[in-house]
């Protein structure tokens, strides 16, 4: 089982230039994080939802992601209006549920969901190693990309080794509980995982040196802007400018 997979597919979004998608995602997210206006936040949420539906992300996976985020936001929605000062909308005994806090929390929820939807729709659909290549073209520091590629490549491998070690422990009747034995057994497991990762990295480095590695990966994926990318960037820029102007006019 692999956990390092993207949402594969064959939609319009999947065919867009990854570089354009990266830039647009970051621009959109920061602009939304800046927004206070209801109109803007609503529109951003629609844009996010549109991107997710265009890229046909499976509903179950999307729901899991949104649930994880909104569990935290639900706590905010429940607690902040009670503790923040403001005109009460609801009074139950000594508890005042304040208007200001409620509005503040609702804005937060809209903002967070809009960003996550756009992020999932645009970047969750890029094949992960392609993302590395796109970063290379966007002049992200080379060492950082190497770290990214290696981590990505060996995440599943080490997860698999973890499972192997754990099943060996289970075969010897290991039962987790709240005691020192459990903590030290898990700690030994992590330490063993680190030992194996270090030994593996020596072998990897040896294999790379043998093939003449000189600190640079071949970048073999080159991207070209097609008409659809220009259209995407055009529409994207219009949306961003629209959001920005509306925000300035409103604030």
């Amino acid at each position: 089982m692999s956990c390092t997979t993207h949402f594969a597919g064959d939609t319009v979004v999947h065919h867009l230039d990854p570089r354009a998608r990266i830039v647009m995602t970051f621009a959109f997210s920061f602009l939304v994080a800046l927004s206070e206006e209801w109109w803007v936040l609503g529109a951003s949420l629609v844009v996010g939802a549109l991107l997710v539906s265009l890229s046909r992300i499976p509903a179950g996976a999307l729901a899991r992601r949104l649930l994880r985020l909104n569990a935290f936001l639900a706590v905010v929605l429940l607690l902040i209006p009670i503790t923040a000062p403001g005109r009460p909308v609801l009074e139950v005994g000594p508890i005042h549920y304040g208007m200001e806090g409620l509005l503040w929390s609702l804005r937060l929820i809209l903002r967070a969901n809009a960003i996550v939807l756009a992020f999932t729709g645009l970047l969750g659909t890029v094949e992960l190693f392609t993302l590395g290549h796109a970063f290379e073209h966007l002049r992200v520091p080379r060492k950082l990309i190497h770290l990214f590629m290696f981590t990505l490549r060996y995440l599943d491998v080490l997860h698999h080794e973890y499972e192997t070690l754990l099943s060996a422990m289970k075969a010897r009747a290991f039962r987790p509980g709240m005691n020192l034995h459990t903590y030290s057994s898990y700690a030994n497991l992590v330490a063993m995982l680190l030992v194996r990762s270090l030994e593996r990295s020596e072998r990897i480095m040896g294999a790379m040196k043998c093939r003449g590695f000189r600190g640079k990966f071949r970048v073999f994926r080159h991207f070209a802007f097609h008409r659809r990318d220009w259209v995407f960037c055009g529409i994207g820029t219009l949306v961003l400018v629209g959001i920005g102007l509306r925000e300035i006019a409103g604030g």
Partner: protein, 211 residues
Amino acid sequence: MHIADGVAPVPVAAAGAAIAAAGVAWGLRVLKDEQIPKAALMSAAIFAASVVIRLPLGPSAVHPVLNGLAGILLGWAAVPVFLVSLFLQALLFQFGGITTLGINTVTMGFPAVAVYGLFGGRLRRARTRRCTFLLGFGAGASAVLLSFALWAGVLILCGKQLAVIVGLALGPHLAVVAVEGMFTGFVAGFLARVYPAAFDVSEQMRREGGP
């Protein structure tokens, strides 16, 4: 202990990104080309372990944070390593977020570096098992404590209203600090006995990297 997208207003997010960028730049400078696979594989191991392991604690269970461990093993390289693994966590599981990538890198990575400065050298020189365990305990516990303090500070900067969440999180996190300390102590003890070379990566960087 991650801050999600949308919570942080842009000035806070931008400040976090700027501080993180400086730390990442320095971390990449001391990280030599030959050490990249080593750093990346240790990062993958730590990432996998912190996501899948659940330590039973009372009626619930906690994930180990392991940033103290990352600090003593990786030194300054822990900062770029955390940037990469936080980006992957946001992308794969929606932990944290992309506008808050900088902030989360600061709250996770900088305590790792501080812990490396405080305990890294001593841990290498430790000779007795008790000594290794205690230093590991100190590293794990103080890294999580520092991360929690930074997280709380940032959350209050994001909105004074959020202080109530910090208050609620305080109790459970103090328990996490203790568990994390023990856990890191045990890991350090195992590595010191079985594979002391694990502590050499950060030491090499300190000797060869930097000005």
